[in-house]
Amino acid sequence: MRDYASPGVAIVAVGAILVAGVYVLAVLDRLLGMIVAGTSIRLGALLAEPVQSGALLVLQERRTTERPDAAGWALAPALFGGLAAVALAMVPLDRDIVAADPATGFVVFSAAIAMVMIAIYLHGWSPNSAFALHGAYRYGAQALSFQIPFLLAMLATALPAESLSIVDIVDAQKSVWNVVREPAGLPLYLVVGVAVSFWGPLNLPDAADLAGGTVVEDSGLDRLLWKGARAAMLVAVAAMGAAVFLGGWWGPWLPGPAWVVLKTVALLVVLLASGHLLARVRIEQFVFVSWVLLIPLALLNVFVSGALLL
């Protein structure tokens, strides 16, 4: 076993960072939306809106459908949020500031990403509703397609560190960031990152053509938790991208944690902007592109970065 924060500290810290991250994400998303829509921006309203809408959802009652799987329905957002927390816990803020640094941090993160599809499937299946189930199936197709390029894109970053620990991976980027070492890695990771948390152009399970997809039957707290968990996952994906591709805490002048936050926000802006600037992708196209284009590209990325290290 390597460094672990004590359980209480880790849970509180990760929880607080997650909530803060989700809030920042909500504000950023709204801000980008307003810029694209060309509406005038009032800072006060912008900052208050996520809190107000959240409070509104807390006060709305839960809804039920005919013969749902109540346990699964309640469990799905919790599972999704928990997975986001596990994924985020792997990201180091500095060499010594990390909630958990298992030797297999990379695999833990990947396992959390893989379990996301179970959370979404559970969420779509349990309300016993046609649109929700359709959303769940779409994510199934989407997830099975992006798993392999995702693993390969991240795997290439573990090569220079010769370790699966995220701290080691970041540490190995002292002189050169991985984004320079393997230029194909970050774009691949970002495409797949949008797909993991089904944002913007790859929002197929909760799409507008399904009137909300897996979330269509949710109201009140269910909806708040689901949206929150989804946003948390995007934060975790951005934070991990900042760690393994953009050199995590490495950077001049500022202290390490500040760099991590800055890089995470920068990646978040890119990920969120894609939601306002790119049209929804058809599932058929995404599956095709994943298997035919992304997997060979990711393989090539691994081979090249491996060859460069020899």
């Binding site: 980008l32 939306g33 307003m34 694209v36 829509a37 060309g38 509406t39 309203a45 208050a48 809106e49 809190v51 107000q52 809408s53 409070a55 509104l56 807390v58 006060l59 709305q60 009652e61 839960r62 809804r63 005919e66 013969r67 046609a130 359709h134 199936y137 779409r138 913007g200 152009p201 929002n203 197929l204 799409a207 507008a208 053509d209 399904l210 009137a211 909300g212 979330v215 269509v216 039957e217 949710d218 109201s219 009140g220 909806r223 939601g275 306002h276 600037l277 790119l278 049209a279 929804r280 992708v281 058809r282 599932i283 058929e284 196209q285």
Partner: protein, 448 residues
Amino acid sequence: MARAGLQLGLKQALGRVAAGAPVPVFAVAGQGAREHVQDLRLDGRLRLVDSPGAAMVLLIAGGLPDGLAEPLAHLHDSLPHPRATLWWPLGAGPATWPQQFVPTIETRDGVSETLQAIQRELLRGQRPGEPPILPDEDPVPWKGVGPYGQGGTGMTGGTPYGRPMAELGADRDGLRLDVLPLRIGPFFPRFPPGLTLDLKLAGDVIVDVAPVESPFAGAPPVGVCRAGARIFVDALSQPVPVAGLELARAREHLRWLADALVAVELGSLGSRVLRLAAELRTSDGDSIRTLGRALRRTQAIGWATNGVGRIPAAAVEGLGAGPIARAAGLPEDERTHDPAYSGLGFEPIVQRDGDAAARWRQRLGEAAQSLELAARAGDRRTVPTGSVESPRGRLDGEGNATARFLHLLPGVLQGLEWGDAVTTLVSLDLDFEEAVFAETARAGAVAS
């Protein structure tokens, strides 16, 4: 006791915070209300939502035929507590409906304020949430034996819970798998008001589809004609200014575009287009061309629409299907017969592919062309010939393009995945209101 007090205090505190949130509204657009509902998207004080589960207030706008009473009651009951209803009749006659649906506001001004006030009252507990209209019972009665109402013994015995097991149907991979019968509409937010489809889905793929007759069609109008379609209906019977007609056409196309952008998850860009449509002037041709470039860059015309919902020219020949026909390469346009257009150098724009992308390009091209025509038209007036080219195709006393096109819909949608089917339906720009008012215009009794 103390715990209950704490809970109440917390609730009140949250209520005060939540009162300032944009009101989540599920809006139903009845007759004459399409633009009014659409314009609400630009209002930052409220938020139009796609699912009743996300809404706090049900906004019913415009005239609603009696056929919608029952689906509307179901919709009302599926809003979470606390909930409220606001009917905004827009000049429609009184309804003989449950008391939730009595008119509550008359004018455009104040809709947002009223919605906000309703939300505030609901959250503070000053206004009771509305009780359900329908009794809370299962649509199919509980029957059968055993704790789950199964039909018999074993896995496949009888009809469990009064519901038939799914039947087998052909699949495109040659497997025979279960198909799911499903009715979608009449309030599905991506559909035009009044469209209901009876579907059979195998997974994501539409095996069979049948449009259910629109509650708007065939009945006398229950509301007033919506502003955007008004001038085209008027042009059937009286000369109208060409400039006004073309400006209205460009505006209708842009309004369609705003909705279509929401369907491909580009809601913020949709708001920008909507604002452009609301304030459109004849000099805005450049803005439309810039918009076309932006849409190609965002891939809204591109990966979302290329090759989707192809309708060959032969299928729509002679239907007067307007942009749908012209996108497939048929230069059918009623304006070519109108002497008012003869000196303007009007030449129908056509595309070749006939897919959804071609229809997007077609409408954008026509919007820009209409602005040019409007700028050149001066004070020319149309000559009533009994048929008009509306933004959706030939409009005459018999009906509009949607009515003539509807029987082709099953053939177009079969075999598509649901996402593509929605893209296709959106790109067709169906309208069930136009025909009703064109018919009444012929009878010389347009409500004004």
